[in-house]
């Protein structure tokens, strides 16, 4: 769907060359939600602007839906842009226009006749959940509502791709979640490919299928969100994963657990997607004659299932506990590790 080859952007500021995006190559599949994460200054905002040429690439090729964006002339580029929606961190709505007129703006640009325009605007208002606010001005809306207008506006011309430049970074956590839900919903309903730039791992975790980690203009790590979560290789990635998971359990903490709970075996369960939905703990309690005590843990949901670790204390006959451990190993994809054996 989107293919990016050797994309670079060099800014010249005070006669110094600054490489914002450095020889970037990437493929994004249709219908995917592709996240790009990085700290500020990593070049991710420049990267997303290169895709619709709000910034002109220094070199490289961008192809969207078999159309080579980088070789288009001004007029062709304008037409191509009508099929690439974009939303922004600060929403960038026209304050002088009402909600419906803001959403109608891209339709005016595309030359859609007036009667069709108002029909389409109403559809979009319903889609993003802003019914009743048609006549409001942006200044009368909350941040979340403004971003909804931004999304409706970006979708007006039925784009194939939606670019999100830090679309939730100016919103509080709760509003962020509702906007992410909306994006997921749109991705689901319209099969739209979404490229999302963020510095919040939470956003990646919640809605992305694929993630690329950017540092100093380069992609340093890329893959399925769950893989990157479970096996982060680079230190930047590890830091981002910690944003969501908290720092990995220190050994001292585990030793502390072992000392506090003296009886039975202590198990560490490692959830790596899919099976988290299989009520593992209650199954263990029903199938085996053991007592379970949840000590500590954190599990979080990604698009590919849950991910995280859980420490449990098991009490009962040794034989029974061993069987339970075997059950987990053989019947589920949860990894289990006996942190402390029964004495």
């Amino acid at each position: 769907m989107i293919s990016i080859k050797g994309l670079s952007k060099i800014f010249t500021i005070n006669k110094k060359n600054i490489t914002a995006v450095d020889d970037l190559t990437l493929n994004i599949k249709e219908g995917e939600i592709f996240g790009v994460i990085g700290y500020s200054g990593a070049g991710k905002s420049t990267f997303v602007r290169l895709l619709n040429r709000l910034e002109e690439p220094t070199s490289g090729i961008v192809t969207i839906d078999n159309q080579e964006i980088t070789t288009l002339n001004t007029k062709e580029l304008r037409l191509a842009r009508q099929e690439i929606g974009m939303i922004f961190q600060h929403f960038n709505l026209l304050w002088s226009r009402t909600v419906e007129d803001n959403i109608a703006f891209p339709l005016e640009i595309a030359g859609v006749p007036k009667t069709d325009r108002s029909k389409r605007v109403q559809e979009l208002i319903d889609l993003v959940g802003l019914s009743g606010r048609e006549k409001a001005y942006p200044s009368q809306l909350s941040g979340g509502q403004k971003q909804r207008v931004g999304i409706a506006r970006a979708l007006a011309n039925n784009p194939k791709v939606l670019l999100c430049d830090e679309a939730t970074s100016a919103l509080d956590p709760e509003t962020t979640n509702s906007i992410l839900d909306l994006l997921m919903d749109i991705n689901d309903k319209l099969g739209l490919t979404i490229i999302l730039i963020t510095h919040e791992m939470h956003v990646i975790r919640k809605i992305c299928n694929q993630v690329a980690v950017m540092e100093e203009g380069k992609i340093v790590e890329q893959g399925q969100v769950l893989d990157v979560f479970t096996h982060p290789k680079k230190s930047v990635t590890k830091k981002f994963v910690e944003q969501v998971m908290g720092s990995s359990e220190a050994d001292s903490e585990i030793a502390n657990l072992i000392n506090t709970y003296e009886e039975g075996k202590i198990l560490r369960l490692h959830f790596l997607g899919e099976t988290t939905n299989q009520a593992l703990i209650s199954q263990l309690a029903k199938r085996f004659d053991i007592e379970l005590n949840i000590l500590q843990g954190k599990i979080t949901q990604t698009q590919a299932g849950g991910y995280g670790t859980l420490f449990i204390q098991t009490k009962g006959e040794n034989e029974e506990i061993d069987q339970a451990v075997r059950f987990i190993q053989e019947e589920t994809s949860v990894e289990v590790e006996v942190v402390r054996d029964a004495d």
């Binding site: 709000l54 960038n92 703006f105 005016e108």
Partner: protein, 222 residues
């Protein structure tokens, strides 16, 4: 009783002078608005990293604006006499004042337009570009509507300066209240005429300011 205090006022002449002042101010304001918008847009669009970035055009327009703003208005009128005569056919009367009034105030308004456009959120322009907008669409549907309150309040300030200019032009034969106050008041030592002209000019200024503020507030939805 009023006719006793203001015994030198001839109502007919006075009304005509007021009409001429309005006539000059409003026509000059329309001209200033158009020319000023063009100058302001050129300054804004050709500036560094602007949509039509062009160092030379920017430099030329900026130089013209600065030169015409630097010339004192009374001298500008004199300098423009040949041009006015060529254009209007005479150098006397309200119509003859228009070229000088417009050329004198358009550069001033042009700078105010430039400032107003600079205040427009860059992100909104970027958003319009990302939707595939043409430059003309960006100018007429984004830049101008989004800077409207500042454009109108700038025009109000310019209008008030223009009223002052019409009085100055009046002294050298353009008609209007300035003309009336100078020839029929000052030169005849009839100071009641000067006084009443001043009061009327102040009232006209207040009217323009009131209308300008009203429109600005009405349009500002921020």
């Amino acid at each position: 009783m009023l006719t006793e205090i203001f015994l030198n006022i001839k109502l007919e002449d006075f009304l005509e002078a007021t009409y001429e002042t309005f006539y000059m101010t409003i026509l000059a304001l329309i001209g200033t608005c158009i020319l000023g918008l063009i100058l302001g847009l050129l300054l804004y669009l050709t500036t560094k990293e602007g949509i039509w970035e062009n160092k030379y055009i920017n430099l030329i327009v900026a130089a013209l604006v600065n030169i015409f703003r630097a010339i004192p208005f009374i001298i500008l009128i004199l300098l423009l006499f040949p041009f006015t005569e060529f254009l209007i056919g005479t150098i006397r009367g309200p119509n003859a004042a228009l070229p000088a009034l417009i050329i004198g105030s358009a550069p001033f308004y042009g700078r105010l337009v430039e400032i107003a456009l600079k205040e427009v959120d860059k992100g909104v322009v970027e958003a319009a570009k990302s939707m595939g907008a043409k430059t003309s669409t960006i100018i007429f549907r984004v830049l101008i509507p989004e800077s409207m309150p500042a454009l109108v309040s700038g025009l109000t300030v310019t209008a008030i300066a223009l009223i002052g200019y019409t009085a100055m032009a009046g002294v050298i034969g353009a008609g209007g209240l300035g003309n009336y106050a100078y020839y029929f008041g000052f030169q005849r030592r009839d100071f009641d005429v000067v006084f009443i002209c001043t009061v009327i000019i102040v009232i006209i200024v207040f009217i323009f300011q009131f209308i300008g503020d009203f429109i600005t507030n009405k349009m500002d939805k921020r």
